[in-house]
């Protein structure tokens, strides 16, 4: 909202006031002014929640108090459009009071003092970290040919605010997470993709690694791959969490407001694909995305849902049927199936799915849900209903359907992906709604 209000004020010189819930207001008048827009947009705070509330409640909000100033809401709106600008609101050019540059070196009298400092600064996941001594960081930097002072990215903060960071900073966080130098190229590739997507909802990320580096550094794509049973998977995933917090600057309640957040954020579901188990015709994820089989690629997925098959595949109910059933609870915007190689054996060898794409096509044609359930998902309704109202198909037609009419939410089969991972001790799988980025070449960071 700050961006839109700023555009109206700056381009057309029309006074504007934004009305929002407390989290948007808090960010809009705080970090967003300082680091993103530079414009102290005037806000009024609306009580939350307002979605789904009857008109009587909304009327009460309007006749009630602005949660920012505590004054009557509508008087606050009138004042925001009419009260003369303050000195701060008239500022132009370089911002005063720029923060002092962070020192490169920290000195403390004890390990405990440093661990406490790191916790108090929010530089940890509140598990103990390995202290990044100069020797350890220097050893870590041997994992890449890039120079320590090379800038990896500048627009690294939330909404692309400038938080320039170097290879050395990433190596420092890699040490803190417990990484080995050979993990550093993957961690640098992950760092090059900040900022990661945040939300007030329970959004999370998933890391999938493909290519030769998986086996070279000992990542687990087999037995127990999704669990806390492999050093590389665990530590690389943790490093991404530290990158999110320290480099991106994510602070709950200041730059982010995830109401419940998500336990996947501890290690970002870091896995490698079990490429060796793929039958003929089933391509690794990175090859499907256009990379060479010999490329090492890390793909960051973003999503919300992570539905466990619970048990193994039953003889009387083919795996694709239960996948279809479970996927009907997903939004339809994207799906990524994580499946054990034993499930692939059944799908490929018994059910006749010769490629991952064939499975995606079948699910696209067979997953169904009611129109009211589809539009009842707020992510779908926020992102796609407006486009439907503007005539974009199939959403325009789906908006006209009766509530109980059935639709096929995964209209685009390409939005259904499969990643094969697991140890063949149970024919199990997860249905997720995770959607990938375009992948990042790890070799470029070696």
């Amino acid at each position: 909202m700050s961006r839109e209000a700023g555009e109206i004020e700056q381009t057309y010189h029309i006074p504007t006031v934004a009305a929002a819930g407390s989290n948007v207001v808090s960010f809009g008048i705080g970090p967003n002014v300082a680091y993103n827009t530079g414009m102290p947009i005037r806000y009024v705070g609306v009580p939350f929640p307002f979605s789904g509330q009857p008109r009587s409640v909304l009327k009460g909000y309007i006749e009630g108090k602005d949660t920012v100033s505590g004054r009557p809401m509508m008087q606050a709106i009138v004042d925001a459009l009419t009260a003369p600008l303050t000195t701060d609101e008239r500022l132009s050019g370089p911002a005063p009071d720029a923060p002092a540059a962070e020192p490169r070196i920290l000195v403390a009298s004890s390990e405990d003092d440093l661990q406490r400092l790191f916790r108090e600064k929010g530089w940890t996941d509140y598990n103990p970290v390995i202290l990044p001594t100069q020797e350890r960081v220097a050893a870590m930097l041997r994992g890449t040919h890039h120079k320590p002072d090379e800038i990896v990215k500048s627009a690294a903060g939330t909404f692309g605010s400038r938080r320039p960071f170097t290879v050395e900073k990433v190596a420092t966080l890699a040490v803190m997470a417990g990484a080995k130098p050979e993990y550093l190229p993957i961690i640098l590739a992950l760092a090059s993709r900040v900022p990661y997507q945040d939300s007030t909802t329970s959004i999370a990320q998933m890391i999938v690694v493909n290519g030769p580096i998986r086996t070279k550094i000992g990542m687990n794509s087999g037995l127990g791959a999704l669990g806390p049973d492999n050093e590389a998977n665990s530590v690389i995933g943790r490093a991404m969490t530290l990158i999110h917090k320290v480099i991106q600057g994510y602070q709950e309640g200041i730059t982010g407001f995830a109401s419940l957040s998500n336990p996947l954020r501890y290690d970002n579901l870091c896995i490698a694909e079990n490429e060796e188990s793929l039958p003929d015709g089933w391509l690794p994820l990175h090859v499907q995305m256009g990379y060479k089989p010999t490329d090492s690629v890390v793909t960051i997925f973003t999503g919300w849902n992570f539905i466990n098959s619970t048990g193994w595949v039953e003889q009387h109910y083919a795996p694709q049927f239960l996948m279809r059933d479970y996927m009907s609870s997903l939004s339809g915007m994207s799906a990524t199936l994580l499946m054990d190689p034993s499930v692939v054996d059944l799908l490929h060898g018994v059910q006749g799915f010769q490629t991952k794409a064939m499975l995606g096509d079948w699910l696209s044609q067979n997953v169904e849900k009611t129109a009211e359930s589809y539009w009842g998902n707020s992510i779908v309704s926020s992102m796609l209903a407006p486009l439907g109202r503007q005539g974009l198909e199939p959403y325009a037609s789906w908006l006209k359907l009766p509530d109980k009419a059935m639709i096929k939410p995964f209209a685009n089969a390409r939005n259904i992906r499969t990643v094969v991972v697991g140890g063949k001790t149970a024919s199990v799988w997860f249905a997720t709604d995770f959607m990938p980025d375009r992948g990042t070449l790890i070799d470029a960071w070696s």
Partner: protein, 139 residues
């Protein structure tokens, strides 16, 4: 349900579990982990924090002397997507009609969705001599 049936249901072999030790085993002596911090004396570490850069400040537009006789656009940013904000903006419009009848209010819905820009609407508001804008509502 007995323990054996429960384990079988969960896919675990009762025989396998039965063979597991129930007491802590003595750990073999191992060399210190290479990441074990050195104790004693000041400790020097690299600072992981980055220095954020402040945005250049941009002034707000001058404010109106009064809203009397002015046109205020109430713009629905379509957060929620299914007309979630209409109610609040309509209540705002009703309040202006009752308490400040000299103010003309016009409700507009932004195109795209709540994360996209609608520069055409901002231009339309300017060309229509809109005097002020209330953007709402996001949560």
């Amino acid at each position: 349900m007995d323990r054996r049936k429960m384990l079988a249901l969960l896919g675990a072999s009762p025989a396998l579990v039965a063979g597991m030790p129930t007491h802590a085993e003595t750990l073999p002596e191992v060399a210190p982990h290479p990441a074990t911090p050195v104790l004693g004396g000041p400790i020097t570490v690299l600072n992981p924090a980055v220095t954020p850069k402040l945005a250049e400040r941009v002034p707000l537009a001058p404010r109106l002397n009064s809203l009397d006789g002015k046109t205020i656009y109430l713009v629905d940013t379509d957060w929620g997507g299914m007309g979630q904000n209409d109610g609040i903006l309509q209540e705002m419009q009703a309040w202006f009609a009752q308490h400040m009848p000299g103010v003309k209010t016009i409700i507009k819905i932004k195109k795209g969705n709540f994360v996209t820009d609608d520069p055409g609407l901002w231009k339309e508001i300017a060309e229509s001599k809109g005097n002020g804008v209330v953007l709402g509502v996001a949560g």
